[in-house]
Structure formats: structure tokens, C-alpha cells
């Protein structure tokens, strides 16, 4: 009997489905030596001095080493390319004893001259590379260039004065003023030491500037040949598809376990999670707090939480009465129900009792004023300040934004307002789009109370406290010379142990003065395949999360 066309079509369809189903080639095929890790965006460049985005920093952190490093999972400084460092008596020069026998992945020897080549390169960046859009970290930490382009800071503003090689394995960094905070910043991949030979051969600074002033590198250092001393080197980069690293056989430290580390950009959060669930990824960053439960319920996956390192706070503008009165600010502190708000963060939020998060040295473990939620106490303080209840306040929050310290700003604002209303305040809201209006208005000092936060640039208390409370700023509207001087002195203390003590005291003093009400320390979470071991999430992730420690499967 002749087969009907309909039956033939059905048979063909079943055969096709069987073929599709039988040829699954999921990314975890070579599980023991390979990891495919999903990132939220493509890396921009692989020259760490010219980037500040997470994906670029993650990749370059595997390729380059800096003079100092962090212990994985913490902000504790450890020797890396430098074995020890100490300041001169006047603390205007820091001398580093370098590790011997280290080679870059191209075979060039690492030494003091290589360190100076790198530092001087950054200090003498040509005009287009001086933009904070590119060399943000040099601008932030050292703040000046040898030959500044118009509008950029020059040698007079620069912390960096020069670099001196004292023999092959000793180098001194010379400063224009006392500072210790830059040491913590040196551990960032942005100050990773590159091979001088590679910088020259692959023309690291060469590029064109288009009519808009945007720099495009024409050399291949930042795109194909980033050469460092780290455990990995670049194997290939298929832009918008994958960035693959392979072990650096010349690495001076413990050899990496994985032979293929692949970073795959998947911008959409839901798509990234589904790719992890289907096995196409073995790990991902940027897990949405709302998805933490989904991952935890999956027996093949696990969640790792980073130590909290950003702070969410209620900002106070003391130039707008009645917030010039300390008792009123204290009333605000007692009037915020921090526990209720921390519960919004999917397990990555922690109630904050001070501005510095626990993972950072300088965080005070004792002596911090206790502002636990107490509406009665808040009302008493307002009355002691001579105010009639309820005290009317205007509370600003941003729209069109989600940040780690405020995933849902409106929700945070409403929760804070609800607790303040019970504490003797009457709250009216104002809101503005995050870009550009909210930040510009806030920084101009036009808000009375505002929702904001901070994610540190580098793990040093100065990057939290001095940035916010080290000098007058319109957004906080106060002049407290005692506090300003205390923070300046703490920043320039060269002895690390003494510095930590100074900052612990300063952290307590900030909370006694209450220029802001910190309410949450927030971190973020990573999701991994259950077979992935050795991944140590750090507070400043994606930096300092070495893939050389990771293995997949047994």
C-alpha cells in the first residue's frame, strides 16, 4: 500500500526531532577543564589602565598582576609582584621590594624598570587617554598627568610625582603629598603591570581620535595582545561571542587548574539564568535578587554571596533646616526601620550600623552608636530640638534605575517613609530620573532628604569616608572641620595598623555626627553549577575572584 503523503510528513517530523534531540552539545561537555562563565556585557578593552567596566576588569584580573594583591574573598592586602613595601620617613615615597624570577607571558623579565615603565606610561598618557571615561582609576587615585590636555588635571594636582628603579628588584614611587589610600587601589587590575616589550611592540597608546573626540586603539595591545604576569593569557577574543583565556605557562605562582576559561556575554538577566539552567553556562554574575530562590531550589545549581561592599543610605542636607540640628538627624536615624528594608534584598542585604561595610578595614566593631529602630525615642529627640510634630520633610528618590544598594528605589523610599511617619515625621516625596536629573540635583544640594548609595572604587576606607565626608559638598551641606581634619589625618597615616584604628574611630565619629543614615550594606550574588569548586566570591567582585583556583567536577 502506498504511504500517504501525510504519514510520510509525520514520519519525517519525528525523525527530525529525534535528530535534534540526540545531538545536544551543551557547553559543559568537557566539564573538568573548562568553564563557561556568563557576564552581563562584553568586555570593552583588555588594557586594564583604560577600563572600568566589570567584564573588562574580570578578564584583565586573570591576565595581569599588580604590585599588591588581595587575599581571595577579602580586602586584606597581600604581596603580589611586590613582596614588601614601606614608606619613607616623610611618607612622600613608598619603596617596594619586588618578587624575583618573574617573567611576563611573552618571556620578558619583570623588574623595577618594568614597574616604572608602566607608572610613567599612565602619568604621561596622551590627551585622549586622559579622559576619565578611559583612565578613570588613574584620574581618581593619582589625579593628574604630566602633560594635561585642556580641562584635565596637571602635575600640580597629581599625587604621583615619579618612579625610581633602585637596582633590579627595588622600586620607589614618589608622591607629591602624603597618602596611604593609594596602596589599596594598587591592588586593582587597573594598575596591573604590563610587559614593556608588549606595550611597545603592540603599540598600546596608538590610536585615532574621531570627530567626536572618541579614542579608538589602533595598536593590538588592548584587543589581541595584553601581556601580563598573571595565571592566564588571552587565547582568543571573538567580540560579542566569547573571550577565551588559556593558562600562562610562565606564571610564577600556583598553576591554574582550568585549561579553558571562557567569558560569554549574555546581557539579559533571564537569558543568562536560563543558559545556566540548560548547562550552556557553568556560572554567571549579576544574579537578580529575585532569582536567588529559583537557583537555590535547583539541585544542580548553587548561589554564592559576595561579602557586602556597597552602602545604601538616607542622605541629609544640613543646609536645609531643621537638619542642621544634631537631635533631628539622630531622630531620623532612630526613625528608619532598617531590618524591614534589608529584607527586600534577596539575602544579599545586611542591616548597616555605619558607613563602612564589615569587609573593609576601618570598620568599627565596637563603640558605634546604636540607632535601632525606636519611634518613641525619635519623637522625643524631635521635641527636645524644639520642633512641633509631625515635622514636615521632603524625601527625594530616583526613578528608572536599579543599583545593588537600592534594587527598587521607590520601594525603599516608601518603606523608609512609612517608618519615619511613625517616628514623628510627615513625609512628602519628590522623584526624578536617575539620569541626568536626580544626581545633578542632588549634587547641587537641592534635596533635603535623598536616597543614595555608594559602591567603592577601591577597597580603602578613604574611598568611602573621605570621598563623602572629607570636605564640604553641597549635597550634605555641612562644614565640620574637626571631621575633615580627622579624615585627612587618617588618610595620610602610613602605618596600616594605626590607619585602621584611625578609621575605626572616624567611622564611629561619623555615626555620632550623623551626616547620613546608612541603612543597608548590599552585596551581589553569583550562581554556579554545583560541580564548580574553588570559586571565592570577593567583596569587590568581579575583581579578585581568581579563576586559577577554580575547578569543575572532580
Amino acid at each position: 500500500m502506498k504511504a500517504k503523503p501525510r504519514n510520510l510528513a509525520l514520519a519525517a517530523l519525528v525523525a527530525a526531532l529525534a535528530l535534534v534531540g540526540s545531538s545536544i552539545a551543551l557547553a559543559g561537555a568537557q566539564a573538568s577543564k573548562t568553564i563557561v562563565f556568563g557576564t552581563d556585557a562584553e568586555a570593552a578593552l583588555l588594557d586594564p589602565a583604560l577600563v572600568s567596566d566589570g567584564p573588562s576588569l574580570r578578564a584583565t584580573d586573570q591576565i595581569f598582576n599588580s604590585l599588591v594583591g588581595f587575599r581571595p574573598g577579602s580586602t586584606k592586602l597581600l604581596p603580589e609582584l611586590a613582596l614588601s613595601w614601606k614608606p619613607s620617613k616623610n611618607a612622600l615615597s613608598w619603596t617596594f621590594k619586588l618578587r624575583r624570577g618573574v617573567k611576563f607571558s611573552d618571556g620578558t623579565a619583570f623588574n623595577a624598570a618594568a614597574v616604572c615603565t608602566n607608572f610613567n606610561r599612565w602619568y604621561t598618557f596622551p590627551g585622549p587617554l586622559q579622559s576619565p571615561a578611559l583612565s578613570y582609576y588613574w584620574n581618581t587615585v593619582f589625579g593628574g598627568f604630566a602633560k594635561p590636555a585642556a580641562g584635565n588635571p596637571g602635575p600640580d594636582k597629581s599625587l604621583y610625582k615619579g618612579c625610581k628603579a633602585r637596582g633590579k628588584y627595588t622600586v620607589s614611587l614618589l608622591l607629591n603629598r602624603r597618602s596611604t589610600s593609594f596602596i589599596g587601589a594598587l591592588a586593582l587590575p587597573n594598575f596591573g603591570i604590563a610587559s614593556p616589550a608588549a606595550l611597545k611592540k603592540y603599540q598600546a597608546d596608538a590610536g585615532t581620535v574621531d570627530a567626536n573626540g572618541v579614542f579608538h586603539p589602533t595598536g593590538t595591545f588592548a584587543t589581541q595582545n595584553p601581556v601580563g604576569t598573571g595565571p592566564y593569557k588571552l587565547k582568543s577574543w571573538d567580540v560579542n561571542t566569547k573571550l577565551e583565556l588559556e593558562p600562562n605557562n610562565r606564571y610564577w605562582g600556583k598553576k591554574a587548574k582550568l585549561t579553558r576559561v571562557i567569558f560569554r556575554p549574555v546581557g539579559d538577566t533571564a537569558a543568562r539564568l536560563q543558559a545556566l539552567q540548560s548547562g550552556e553556562l557553568q556560572g554567571l554574575d549579576g544574579l537578580d535578587p529575585a532569582d536567588v530562590g529559583t537557583v537555590q531550589r535547583n539541585s544542580k545549581l548553587k548561589v554564592l554571596r559576595r561579602p557586602t561592599f556597597s552602602v545604601g543610605y538616607l542622605g541629609i542636607n544640613q543646609s536645609k533646616p531643621p537638619f542642621d540640628k544634631l537631635n533631628v538627624r539622630k531622630a531620623l536615624a532612630y526613625g528608619v526601620d532598617r531590618k524591614a528594608i534589608a529584607s527586600f534584598y534577596g539575602g544579599v542585604g545586611q542591616v548597616a550600623n555605619q558607613f563602612l561595610p564589615p569587609a573593609l578595614f576601618g570598620h568599627a566593631k565596637k563603640g558605634v552608636p546604636d540607632y535601632s529602630y525606636n519611634p518613641t525615642k525619635a519623637k522625643q529627640l524631635l521635641q527636645q530640638a524644639g520642633l512641633t510634630l509631625p515635622v514636615k520633610v521632603e524625601f527625594a528618590y530616583p526613578t528608572n534605575v536599579s543599583r545593588p544598594y537600592m534594587p527598587d528605589p521607590k520601594r525603599n523610599a516608601e518603606a523608609i517613609a512609612a517608618s519615619l511617619e511613625k517616628s514623628g515625621f510627615s513625609v512628602s516625596f519628590t522623584s526624578a530620573p536617575w539620569r541626568p536629573t536626580y544626581r545633578a540635583t542632588l549634587q547641587a544640594g537641592n534635596y533635603q532628604l535623598f536616597l543614595f548609595g555608594w559602591i567603592a572604587d577601591f577597597p580603602d576606607p578613604a574611598n568611602f569616608l573621605n570621598v563623602h565626608f572629607g570636605a564640604f559638598s553641597p549635597q550634605f551641606g555641612f562644614r565640620n572641620n574637626a571631621l575633615f581634619n580627622e579624615l585627612t589625618a587618617a588618610d595620610s597615616e602610613p602605618n596600616l595598623a594605626k590607619r585602621s584604628l584611625r578609621y575605626q574611630k572616624a567611622s564611629v565619629d561619623v555615626m555620632k555626627y550623623v551626616p547620613v543614615v546608612p541603612y543597608v550594606w548590599a552585596g551581589s550574588a553569583i550562581a554556579l553549577d554545583k560541580d564548580v569548586a574553588g570559586y571565592v566570591p570577593g567583596p569587590i567582585g568581579p575583581v579578585n575572584e581568581p579563576f586559577s583556583l577554580v575547578q569543575v567536577g572532580s
Binding site: A25, N212, V214, H216, N240, T241, E280, W454, I455
Partner: protein, 334 residues
């Protein structure tokens, strides 16, 4: 025909000038600047001022527009502020991905939609006709991102049959001389790479093709219903021609005219970049790139990228008009 083509090509100049001006004004009307996007919380007024100065954003608007037009006239589309990659590089890298996806989606829509619409017309008023109507409505109504997520959940996460993201297995080290992965696999004579590329195309093409499928089905049905009642079709039947020949030579051929127009327009739209599909399937095409650029206020990418897509859209429409003339001799002769 040649005069027609030349005239349409000359019209490109005022069209592209108009588009460039509109885009230039529109993106600057958006709140926020590239500086604020790049710097995030660190966007102090001083840093924003420095970056704006660097990129000439503090210059008068006419001066900025003149620089942009001058640069574009020299076939330079600029450099991305976010990535430092040239707009030209990104287009070369991403456009083939968009073309591949668009062609696959339209192929899906046409290969299924035309027969489906034709059969619905031939079985007018039956359950098949009603079922095709309901299916078309569902296809038009379901949001693409929702359909895509469902397809991925079923076929990737639960069944593990198909990949959920990307254009190929990330562990493969295939060569891509043209960046059209299917074509590259054929050139390299690599059946594994070919099958891998096809597997990765299936889900996004089905998701993206769902709306064109619904449209093509309905238009085909309507067009066939219209044509099969024409006098020349009745005459052909009366002459004793077999139903298959009548359908193929007279009904379908004439019904194709409006369908080809729709196919051309839909393809042009798809080539502009299917933002949602590309985003949820991590398909590295033009749509997701431009969507990111809006978020980042990446002016050079938006200006250069949208201008390029406008050019593509105009050219695709020109091809559609030419094909219309080829299919319909009356139009060609007129």
C-alpha cells in the same frame, strides 16, 4: 527599469540627510549624556564636565552636527564611547548575525505560512480554516519575548534539545570568514559546524518569525480567496486543466503579488534588528547593540547605526519594488 532604479538611489541622499538630522536631534533630546552613563555614581560635576569637553558635547549644537555630517560624508561612522570599537567594526561584526536571523525567520514564515494560508483558503469555512485563523491571532498577539522565554524553557531547560543562547557552541573553534555562520560552515565544508549553526537558529527564528508567519498566512489566504474567484481562473478550470495546474499557474502566481510585498516589508523590518529576540537569545545582532547604545547614550553608535539601518531599509524596499515589477509584467511594462 534602469531609470527607476537610478531615481530611487538618488533619493537616498535626501532621505539619509533627513534621517541623520532626526536621529541627531532625538538622541540629544534624551535625558542624560554619555558621561553620566559611563561614570555612574562617580559622575561628579567636575568629571562630567571633563568628559563632555573631551567628546565635544559642550560645543554648540550646529558645530556638533556639522562634525557628524562631515565625518559621515567621508564614510566614517565614528567610534563607540562605551567600547572604543568603531561603529563600522560593530556593523561588520553584527549585521551578518541579524541578516542570518532575519532570513531564517522569514524562511520559517514563508515556508509554513504560504502553504498554510493556501490550504486555509482552499478549505474555506472548515475547521482547518478556523484553526489557521486562531493560530494567526495567537501568533500576532503573543509578545515575542514571552514566546521566546517559553520556547527556551521547554526546548532548552526542560528537554535539553536546543541551545538557548548564541550562534554556535562556544567550545567550538570554527572559522568565520564571512561571519554568516551557515555560509561559513558550507565554505569550510564542516557539517558539524553547519548543524550547530542551524540548531542555534531554530528557536530565535521561530520566535522572531511568529508574527510574520501570522501575517503571511492571513495575506495568502485572503489573496488566494480573491484570485480563485477571478474570471481567468474559472476559464482555466472550464478548459479542463487539472486543479493542480490551475492552482500553481494561475491562482498561486497571481496571489503572490501582495504576499511578496509583505515579505519584502517584513524582511526590511527584521533587518532593522529584532531587539527583543536578540536580547533574550543573546544573539549578537544590530538590534540588541542599538538598544544597549540607547541605554548608554552612546551617540556615535546611535547616529551611525541608525543611519546604516535606514540605508538598509531603503535598499530592501527598492529590491521589493523591483521584484514586484519582475513578478507582475503589467507593472514592468507600465
Amino acid at each position: 527599469m534602469l531609470r527607476f532604479v537610478v531615481r530611487r538611489l538618488l533619493l537616498l541622499v535626501p532621505i539619509l540627510l533627513g534621517v541623520s538630522l532626526l536621529v541627531f536631534i532625538w538622541i540629544r533630546a534624551l535625558p542624560g549624556t554619555p558621561a553620566q552613563s559611563l561614570l555612574g555614581e562617580r559622575a561628579t560635576p567636575q568629571l562630567v564636565k571633563q568628559v563632555n569637553h573631551q567628546y565635544g558635547l559642550d560645543r554648540p549644537i550646529y558645530e556638533q552636527y556639522w562634525k557628524y555630517v562631515n565625518q559621515t560624508a567621508h564614510f566614517k561612522l565614528g567610534t563607540s564611547i562605551s567600547t572604543s570599537r568603531t561603529v563600522g567594526f560593530e556593523i561588520r561584526n553584527r549585521f551578518p548575525a541579524t541578516v542570518e536571523l532575519a532570513v531564517a525567520a522569514m524562511l520559517f514564515a514563508v515556508v509554513i505560512g504560504i502553504p498554510l494560508g493556501f490550504m486555509a483558503a482552499k478549505r474555506y469555512g472548515t475547521w482547518f480554516d478556523h484553526a489557521s485563523l486562531v493560530t494567526s491571532l495567537i501568533g500576532i498577539s503573543i509578545p515575542i519575548f514571552f514566546l521566546g522565554l517559553i520556547l527556551k524553557y521547554v526546548f532548552s531547560v526542560r528537554l535539553g534539545w536546543l541551545p538557548s543562547i548564541g550562534r554556535e557552541d562556544v567550545l567550538a573553534d570554527n572559522e568565520h570568514p564571512t561571519n554568516f555562520y551557515i555560509l561559513d560552515a558550507i565554505i569550510e565544508r564542516d557539517p558539524e559546524a553547519l548543524w550547530d549553526a542551524i540548531r542555534h537558529l531554530i528557536l530565535p527564528a521561530v520566535a522572531l518569525g511568529s508574527i510574520p508567519l501570522a501575517i503571511v498566512t492571513r495575506i495568502t489566504r485572503a489573496s488566494v480567496l480573491d484570485v480563485q474567484n477571478e474570471d481567468y481562473v474559472r476559464t482555466a478550470r472550464a478548459k479542463g486543466l487539472s486543479p493542480m495546474i490551475v492552482d500553481r499557474r494561475h491562482v498561486l502566481r497571481n496571489a503572490l503579488l501582495p504576499i511578496s510585498t509583505i515579505i519584502g516589508l517584513q524582511t526590511g523590518l527584521l533587518l532593522s534588528g529584532a531587539v527583543l529576540t536578540e536580547t533574550i537569545f543573546a544573539w549578537p545582532g544590530v538590534g540588541s547593540w542599538l538598544a544597549e547604545a540607547i541605554f548608554n547614550r552612546d551617540y556615535p553608535v546611535l547616529q551611525g547605526g541608525i543611519l546604516f539601518l535606514a540605508l538598509v531599509f531603503v535598499l530592501v524596499n527598492l529590491v521589493v519594488d523591483i521584484s514586484y515589477a519582475i513578478i507582475n509584467p503589467r507593472i514592468r511594462l507600465s
